[in-house]
């Protein structure tokens, strides 16, 4: 098809503003799905993701649309909706020539609306603003249109008003895609360059790569080369999702579809990489590729009834369809053998942990997630440290640098005071205030990532009666007065409980931490001292008193089964735990480290 008749676009929206429903509406209008199918959200797949109501994996759907007697091919490229998947969003956008910015007519502009709009702006992507859910009684489309005007400088009257629920405005939206968004540029006769913007794993076909052909073309049988990883493969299958997969023989510049090339592991394919021809290579890859950025690391250890090898097999299977998860074997004196895992964010971590337990029956005991640090040692070397336990000895430490994010906090203007207080408590540096409207503002801060990964979002929500939203992005690593806080359980230092904290917060953090530990670790047959220390200086201590009585009376009439069941009950719910020396440390105690103690 002629490039003029192709449109590649994305729908970007804050979560729950109606992206999926609008997408389904378009599919319905273009005849790609039936009325009945309309009611299923086609673009989300995994069970877990649906439960959590988020779209993690991007994918693309090709629709046929006719306007004024002309046939168009519309490729809708889905973007992940959660902050953890920032980089994936940027790659999805890179595959588009324009986007629909969907904003809930009742909620108005929110943090991810802003983040995504900025991202689109950075890649010079034209946006058509869509004000959705106008059927809601609480809808205030004109106000929201003004907010959008503030945000992307599109005149409010150019907004398209829709209701994905009733279908109102969907035709206007489709027309705007054709009329207002540009067709793909790119050189159909040039050397082949195709952008990988997503990939999934399919049991039968192996890795399925989603590509946008920018220059040249791809055809079945082509020998291709990944410009980033330098791996080569042969294409054995090409196609598009309509949303059912439909095979094609070739795809030329401007088109979007999938490539199957006998690739077994998802980890071999990098989102953002460029595909070219093995024999006729392009000179330069498409811009913007970088490997996934891990925001948090956590050590996963097998629980009492799980074997290390089973855990390894399960992780191996998980990375087949989650390329952003990394893991490497580690061993700790206290906890034995396990895996250091890298995640895009906390939600990603929770999903992986749940999938290990649910899909692979693996009992995970995990250490509290930590952000990655950079460490400068006295010999001038800079290394990345993903666990407080890996910090070099204080004598060799020149400085510890922590990741700093630029965060946009959007909140009602009447909660500016509380939000600012919250930010300051988390060592944030104020950057800017920008009014979206008379009663909504964007506060921009630079905040250490470590201060916001755990409960910051919840705190923001409660400080703003639920209206606050945020988005953030790592901008740099910055040296700070950071110290390692050690925890001693029964006089043994437990590295897995160590944490890197700012010196000014070490005391309350240490105190809070061991108070939580005291609650989470159950009483043993002996007394357990708990201490928090910086170096050799103990800053807080607590004691878990010894268990003095735990014995049952005789079993009357020999009812042994009943007695056994009573004893088994004592252990219930304590499966996820690790022995450290003679002390049982339950999963919850490891997580106590996260509590900022404020």
């Amino acid at each position: 098809m002629n490039q003029d008749h192709i449109r590649n676009f994305s729908i970007i929206a804050h979560i729950d503003h109606g992206k999926s429903t609008l997408a389904d509406r378009m599919l319905l209008r273009c005849g790609a799905i039936t009325d009945r199918e309309f009611h299923n959200q086609l673009l989300d797949d995994m069970e877990l993701e649906r439960e959590r109501g988020i779209t993690i994996k991007a994918s693309a759907v090709t629709m046929n649309y006719e306007l004024d007697g002309e046939k168009y091919m519309l490729n809708m490229i889905d973007t992940p909706g959660h902050v953890d998947f920032h980089y994936e969003v940027s790659r999805s956008l890179a595959a588009c020539d324009g986007g629909l910015l969907v904003v809930d007519a009742a909620q108005g502009v929110e943090a991810q609306t802003v983040a995504n709009a900025y991202m689109a702006d950075n890649s010079k992507l034209p946006l058509v603003p869509i004000i959705n859910k106008i059927d809601l009684p609480a809808a205030r489309p004109e106000d929201v249109a003004m907010e959008v005007e503030h945000l992307i400088a599109t005149p409010a009257e150019d907004c398209i008003f829709t209701s994905a629920k009733t279908g109102q405005g969907v035709d206007d939206m489709l027309q705007a895609i054709v009329k207002q968004l540009p067709p793909p540029a790119g050189d159909p006769k040039g050397k082949t360059r195709a952008l990988i913007f997503d990939s999934t794993h399919d049991e039968y076909r192996g890795v399925v790569i989603y590509v946008r052909v920018v220059d040249g073309k791809l055809a079945i049988g082509d020998k291709i080369r990944m410009m980033g990883t330098k791996d080569t493969y042969q294409i054995n299958n090409l196609g598009k999702f309509t949303p059912k997969p439909v095979e094609v023989k070739s795809m030329s510049a401007g088109e979007v579809g999938y490539v199957v090339a006998n690739i077994r592991e998802l980890a071999s394919v990098h989102v953002g990489d460029t595909i070219t021809m093995e024999l006729d290579q392009a000179a330069k890859p498409l811009p913007g590729y970088h490997p996934p950025q891990h925001m948090v690391f956590s050590d996963f250890y097998p629980g009492p009834s799980t074997q290390f090898a089973d855990m390894r097999d399960a992780l191996e299977k998980l990375v087949l369809n989650d390329s952003s998860l990394t893991y490497s074997a580690i061993s700790s004196e206290a906890l034995g053998f396990g895996f250091r895992c890298g995640f895009l964010g906390m939600l990603h971590m929770e999903i992986v942990q749940e999938r290990l337990e649910r899909e692979h029956d693996i009992e995970v005991v995990q250490t509290a997630p930590t952000v990655p640090y950079e460490v400068l040692t006295t010999d001038g070397a800079v290394t990345e440290v993903d666990s407080a336990g890996d910090l070099p000895d204080a004598n060799y430490l020149e400085e510890i640098r922590e990741p700093i994010v630029k965060a946009n906090l959007i909140c009602p203007s009447d909660s500016i005071g509380t939000v600012m207080q919250l930010a300051e408590d988390r060592r944030a540096i104020y950057k800017a205030t920008e009014y979206l409207s008379s009663d909504r503002v964007i506060l921009t801060y630079e905040i250490p990532l470590a201060e916001i990964i755990y409960d910051f979002y919840d705190k923001l929500k409660s400080a703003t009666r639920g209206y606050g939203t945020m988005d953030f992005e790592i901008i740099e690593y910055r040296a700070n007065d950071l110290v390692k806080l050690d925890i001693l359980v029964n006089n043994n230092k437990v590295e897995a409980l160590s944490v890197i904290v700012h010196r000014s917060k070490a005391d309350p953090r240490g105190r809070g931490l061991i108070q939580r530990l005291r609650k989470e670790i159950s009483r043993h047959q002996f007394e357990i001292p708990l201490q928090a220390a910086i170096g050799t200086k103990v800053i807080a201590r607590e004691t878990i008193t010894a268990l003095r009585k735990n014995v049952t009376a005789k079993c009357y009439g020999g009812d042994v089964s009943r007695k056994r069941k009573l004893l088994e009950k004592q252990k219930k719910g304590k499966k996820r735990m690790k022995m450290v020396g003679n002390v049982e440390i339950p999963q919850k105690a490891f997580m106590a480290v996260l509590d900022p103690g404020d």
Partner: protein
């Protein structure tokens, strides 16, 4: 559980079991702390019960060794049956006993008179386990026992007079309002009775009992763990100094007077249970009869098996239960016997839990045995729960 699963192939297990337990589900009045199944009225029910129990025994008796090594009639309060009915029941049981059989009946001091004592002795009963609980009238009130301290002394006199040569006293400590001194006095009074055997248990609060409600409503305050512990170790030391040897966490006996019947449980050997709520362990299969008397009677009278639940123990579950039970004995688990029974030693079978507690000192390994250390008797369940968790 399906009923056919509860049916036992009797030919395989005939005469294999040395111990018989008979549960008598009647009491004069419910004690305030008690959650065992027992009923407080109904002469008609008692008659039906005795007939049913005898019927069940006839049905299953061929698994019993003849003569049985031990017979234990418990409850409930067996001596709350009228002498005639008690006589009828015991006479049937007597047929499985000979002079060597340890034949125990549990008795409440408030139910012992000369007529009852005669019935016991006439039917070969040679051991009485007397539910004394305390010699303090106030504490007996807290417990809601039917008897007075005087009745206990009277009962002892009657039993001895009737010729019962082997008497065990049951005591309870950790009763709300009880101090260490009070416990010490109770214990002294029990020891002064010069019985052959003593069992002492810490009071436990069970749901659905009046005492539990008192606790919930703050009408009584529990004795704290530290004091209970002090009471326990006082018990161990005092009994030892008075020639009663501790052989199980809560049991003490003069030489040769350990309770054979209970040792069967602790060695995880087989036994037959008869009566509502009675448990059996035959050929590796555990079963428990329907706990409700009415339900039990109807089943027996209709000729259907009275078992409500059963499970077949195999492999590690059987090992786990064996350890759970044997470790309650002061001598602990005999390594050679365990290894012979399961073809693997306890430490090989449960390296994580047993290893952990050998290291901490809660368990002690000698050349022949693995046992709990004395300091850990009072937290034994912590160790046992971990062993079971490794099954």
């Amino acid at each position: 559980m399906l009923e056919h699963f509860c049916k036992q192939n009797h030919s395989q297990v005939s005469r294999s079991v040395g111990a018989l337990y008979v549960h008598v589900p009647f009491c004069v009045r419910k004690c305030r702390y008690c959650d065992f199944y027992s009923q407080t009225d109904g002469q008609a029910a008692k008659q039906r019960y005795v007939a049913a129990a005898i019927g069940e025994l006839k049905l299953k008796g061929d698994v019993l060794a003849a003569p049985a090594a031990s017979i234990f009639v418990g409850g409930g309060t067996p001596t709350s049956l009228e002498p005639d009915l008690l006589d009828e029941l015991l006479a049937q049981l007597h047929r499985y006993a000979d002079g060597e059989t340890e034949f125990t009946v549990e008795a409440n001091p408030g139910t012992i008179d000369t007529a009852t004592a005669d019935v016991l002795v006439r039917n070969g009963v040679n051991r009485v386990s007397l539910g004394v609980q305390s010699f303090d009238a106030k504490l007996l009130d807290v417990l809601g026992r039917i008897h007075t301290p005087q009745q206990t002394h009277e009962a002892l006199r009657i039993l001895r007079g009737a010729g019962v040569g082997n008497i065990s006293l049951d005591l309870i400590y950790g009763i709300p309002g009880q101090s260490l001194e009070m416990w010490s006095r109770d214990l002294d009074e029990a020891l002064a009775a010069d019985t052959e055997h003593l069992s002492a248990y810490a009071l436990s609060f069970e749901e659905n009992t009046p005492l539990w409600d008192d606790l919930e409503a703050d009408r009584v305050s529990p004795v704290n763990d530290e004091l209970q512990r002090a009471m326990y170790y006082h018990l161990i030391e005092t009994t030892a100094s008075r020639g009663l040897e501790q052989y199980e966490i809560s049991n003490f006996a003069r030489a040769g007077r350990r309770c054979k019947h209970n040792i069967t449980y602790w060695l995880n050997k087989g036994y037959l249970g008869v009566g509502p709520a009675a448990a059996s362990y035959i050929g590796g299969r555990r079963s428990v009869n329907a706990p409700d008397l009415q339900d039990y009677l109807e089943r027996i009278e209709a000729g259907t098996p009275p078992q409500a639940e059963c499970e077949q123990l195999v492999g590690r579950s059987e090992m786990g239960e064996t350890l759970m039970l044997q470790l309650r004995l002061t001598e602990g688990v005999k390594i050679a016997s365990f290894t012979k029974r399961f073809a693997v030693s306890p430490t090989e079978a449960f390296p994580r839990s047993i290893g952990r507690y050998l290291q901490s000192g809660a368990l002690v390994e000698t050349k022949t045995h693995i046992r709990l250390s004395r300091e850990h008797f009072f937290t034994a369940d912590t160790v046992l729960a971990d062993i079971l968790a490794e099954v």
